[in-house]
């Protein structure tokens, strides 16, 4: 859907304007498409993390149920155990939670109090939105930087988890850095949009969510 619309916009741009401003517009649209695709890809990686938790824990519970059944029948048990499951599930959760940050922001699902913002004149609203977004961008960049330092330390010292299966901590931690970095980019992206158009792109969805249209 996005593709069709963007192509149409490209055509319109081509027919109306000269070559130089066309290429700028084209760059903007390509940039937009690349960013949105990145947020979406990270969101799907996050979904995969959740699915991984469900599947691993599901296998473990299934194994236990089978063993209980075998035991009650007096048969030998399989003894099926996923080692360090609770640790590994925790790592998937950490990675998944962070990878979804940007997509969730773009979806307008991160919670904040919009009561004041919704009730000031449009110009003041734009200013407040821009300030909040810029603040978010600075804060998340700061967080990303320090998470990166933290992850680099784990990597340098080859830190692994303390359980039976030694998982290198750099795996979940690098996913967290990536997710936090994408959040910072999404904040900047929304800040620029707000400065240009007066409103962040998620305004509509955010209102819909606060109206409860998404469960």
């Amino acid at each position: 859907m996005h593709h069709a619309r963007d192509t149409r916009r490209l055509d319109v741009a081509w027919s109306r304007v000269g070559r130089s401003s066309f290429s700028r517009q084209k760059r903007t649209i390509l940039m937009r498409r690349a960013l949105d695709a990145t947020y979406a890809a990270a969101l799907w990686l996050s979904i995969l993390c959740l699915i991984a938790i469900a599947v691993l824990v599901g296998l473990q519970v299934g194994g236990r149920v089978i063993d209980l059944t075998l035991k009650s029948l007096g048969l030998p048990q399989t003894g099926f155990v996923i080692l360090s499951l609770s640790e590994i599930a925790g790592y998937f959760l950490a990675a998944g939670s962070f990878l979804a940050l940007a997509g969730t922001l773009k979806g307008g699902a991160h919670i904040r109090v919009t009561m004041l913002i919704n009730n000031v004149p449009p110009r003041a609203r734009t200013l407040m939105e821009a300030c909040a977004l810029l603040f978010g961008a600075v804060a998340s960049s700061y967080g990303t930087w320090h998470l990166l330092q933290f992850a680099l330390t784990s990597w340098r010292f080859n830190e692994v988890s303390s359980g039976l299966v030694p998982v290198p901590l750099i795996y979940p931690q690098s996913a967290m850095v990536l997710g936090a970095g994408l959040l910072a980019i999404a904040f900047i992206d929304e800040f620029i949009t707000t400065v240009r158009t007066g409103r962040p792109t998620f305004t509509g969805t955010e209102d819909a969510i606060s109206l409860g249209q998404e469960s």
Partner: protein, 433 residues
């Protein structure tokens, strides 16, 4: 510098940021950052990274996305219709008739759902239209739905209780068990109110349902089978100790998929929708928890919570007076903040105060959930009201008026819980010791 003015200044800063539309998680983390920079010579960045990492990889917290996913799948099945048709024939004889379907339906669904808004939306989707069609007063059908939807927070599984448990490092299973009786007490109080109201206002009730023979009523019970299987699978596995809450949540996800498959609502687009929605919701919550984890650590280093506790302790309030003061403060805060933010603020800033006053932390968890439930139905910010606004198209303050009696009933429930703490503490004590 004296710590008390700094503490009060920090709290003011937090509320200023939240009021100006800064994302809650960012505001919480910023407060932690400022507290460290103003007060200590420690590196805030390193503390930030460590505490976020420690908080985000929690096994207990893994239950959260799983329960949310389960709710998101069930919302997209025919479960609410089934429950309406299974419950109606049995409740139609009570004074207040189908209004009880809202209350009992929400209570039953609360046992498979961890959120108040999801409970409200799932039950309300069918029951509001059906009640309107039969001529029930809007005020009561909306009020009962909003009020009893909040039971979703109290009766396990409960997202808020998972959040409270991870923040205070109390066992999730224990808190879950503690929530059962207070939840059922709310159901009882709501039903009693509807019965009394219906007996006093016979003229305002629509005509009764046509009577249904006993055999048919029993046959209608089969519609409740899916939800029953879910309850037994999820809650049963926690109570019998077979599964940890996270494992029970995953069992719930697979059972919800089975229910969806059996009712023919399972499809790839539906699954995709549920996955995306659940991922965003749980990301939103874990983001807040990450901010709160940093704030809690920062607060611990600065000693601000202890100073606040001593300051409030210096007023010499009795335990009851302190509780009343806290409740009033929470109710006011609840008019503007959502439940999860309220709980993490409590656990990161005023927990030493609560412990110092001698409250049992499990009891306090249940108490705060009850107060958060009230916050769900107070305008202008209340998630159940948002849900109902989209279902009915009414103004949020009108809805607040409809829910007012139920708000008062919850105040009564809070008083009961404060006077008889065993309402929450008896079951975990007898079951686990």
């Amino acid at each position: 510098m004296d710590l008390l003015p700094i503490s009060l200044g920090l709290i003011l800063l937090l509320f200023a940021m939240i009021g100006l539309g800064v994302w809650i998680a960012v505001a919480l983390a910023t407060m932690g950052f400022v507290a460290i920079v103003v007060q200590l010579t420690l590196p805030p960045g390193a503390i930030l990274a460590t505490s976020i990492w420690q908080g985000a990889k929690s096994w207990d917290l893994t239950a959260l996305p799983m329960f949310i996913l389960m709710g998101d799948i069930l919302f997209r099945t025919r479960l609410s219709q089934d429950m309406f048709e299974g419950l109606t024939p049995w409740l139609a004889r009570l004074p207040g008739r189908l209004l009880h379907v809202n209350i009992v339906g929400c209570t039953v669904f609360a046992a498979v759902s961890g959120s108040s808004a999801a409970t409200c939306a799932t039950i309300g989707r069918i029951s509001l239209t059906e009640l309107k069609k039969r001529g029930y007063s809007d005020a009561l059908s909306v009020g009962t739905l909003a009020g009893s939807g909040t039971i979703g927070l109290m009766i396990p599984p409960s997202i808020i209780l998972i959040v409270y448990a991870t923040a205070t490092e109390i066992s999730v299973a224990r808190l879950f068990i503690a929530g059962v009786i207070p939840g059922l007490m709310l159901t009882g109080l709501f039903m009693a109110f509807v019965i009394i109201w219906a007996m006093l206002n016979k003229s305002k009730m629509p005509p009764p349902e046509p009577p249904m023979p006993f055999i048919k009523r029993v046959y209608a019970l089969r519609r409740l089978l899916p939800v029953l299987v879910l309850i037994i699978g999820v809650i049963g596995s926690i109570y019998t100790g077979i599964a940890a809450p996270t494992e029970a949540a995953v069992v719930g996800v697979f059972l919800a998929l089975a229910v969806a498959w059996q009712s023919g609502t399972l499809s790839l687009p539906m699954l995709k929708e549920a996955l995306v929605a659940a991922t965003k919701t749980s990301c939103m919550i874990t983001f807040i928890l990450a901010g709160a984890a940093f704030l809690t650590t920062a607060m611990g280093f600065t000693g601000i919570p202890r100073v606040l506790a001593e300051w409030i302790g210096s007023f010499g309030l009795s335990q009851m007076m302190l509780l009343v003061a806290l409740t009033v403060f929470f109710i006011i805060m609840g008019c503007f903040l959502d439940g999860i933010s309220m709980v993490v603020l409590t656990t990161s800033i005023i927990l030493p105060l609560v412990e110092g006053a001698g409250f049992d932390l499990i009891w306090f968890g249940i108490y705060i959930v009850l107060v958060v439930e009230m916050a769900q139905i107070t305008p202008p910010v209340g998630f159940n009201l948002y849900v109902l606004q989209s279902l009915t198209g009414r103004n949020i303050f009108t809805l607040g008026l409809y829910t007012a009696p139920f708000f008062l009933i919850m105040c009564l429930a809070a008083a009961l819980l404060a006077i008889f703490p065993d309402i929450a503490l008896w079951l975990p004590r007898t079951m686990l010791e």
